[in-house]
Subunit: 114 residues, 2 copies
Amino acid sequence: MSVTTLSTTPQEVSACGTSPVDVLDRAEADHRAALLKALADPVRLQLLSIISAAPGREACVCDMTEAVQVSQPTVSHHLKTLVDAGILTRERRGSWAWFRLDVEQLAAVRGFLA
Amino acid sequence: MSVTTLSTTPQEVSACGTSPVDVLDRAEADHRAALLKALADPVRLQLLSIISAAPGREACVCDMTEAVQVSQPTVSHHLKTLVDAGILTRERRGSWAWFRLDVEQLAAVRGFLA
DNA sequence: TGTCAATATGGACCATCGTCGATGTCGGTG
DNA sequence: CACCGACATCGACGATGGTCCATATTGACA
């Protein structure tokens, strides 16, 4: 097979002697980064720990505002961030809002971190 | 057992009827958030995908600058972020810098995401 | 309908982040 | 020693993020 075929053939080697490999495409990288970004905050991790430890893997906002050292609007903001990312789901029951873990979404994150 | 014992007893129930649970303490939450933050960027995920797919799970900077659509200083900056977080290790060989995955650190992240 | 409690939204402020161009540093080679 | 290529650092800029207070919305209930 000839060496001088096409400039687009992935058969070349770079300066340090290795052959270039495939990169995760940007769209998928953006999607994964958005998920990780939603998780990458200490208060949100605390909120998730509450929900994760609660019976039925769901918790009410009033429990969380008491357990975390930020204001109620800030808790609401963080919960919205997690819902928008698909990590939590929100359900209204009477006066209270309940949040439940989406375990599949979390499993997906663990998956691409392997 | 009396109901009016002490205000610090964790036996109370909150407004919505559940009993408060333990929260992940703030220091540990900060540590985990720092790790996730280091991972939560599309370019860094692309860099990690290159290293992860390379033979020996290590790659040279020159390969990465070619594969990603940002400038060389930006690649260097992202690699430093990952090294500072303990996700990558840097090793100098001649003119080139090689980066290797710390698989245990990544496993730890997957661990607390369970 | 009016009021209250629970939650969400809007606006503002300060800190941090991602990116770049310019430049510095270090190793190899003539 | 001088030069060159690989990589790191610096300084700056615009964008995004976390937080708060004030206020709006929603649902229960008198």
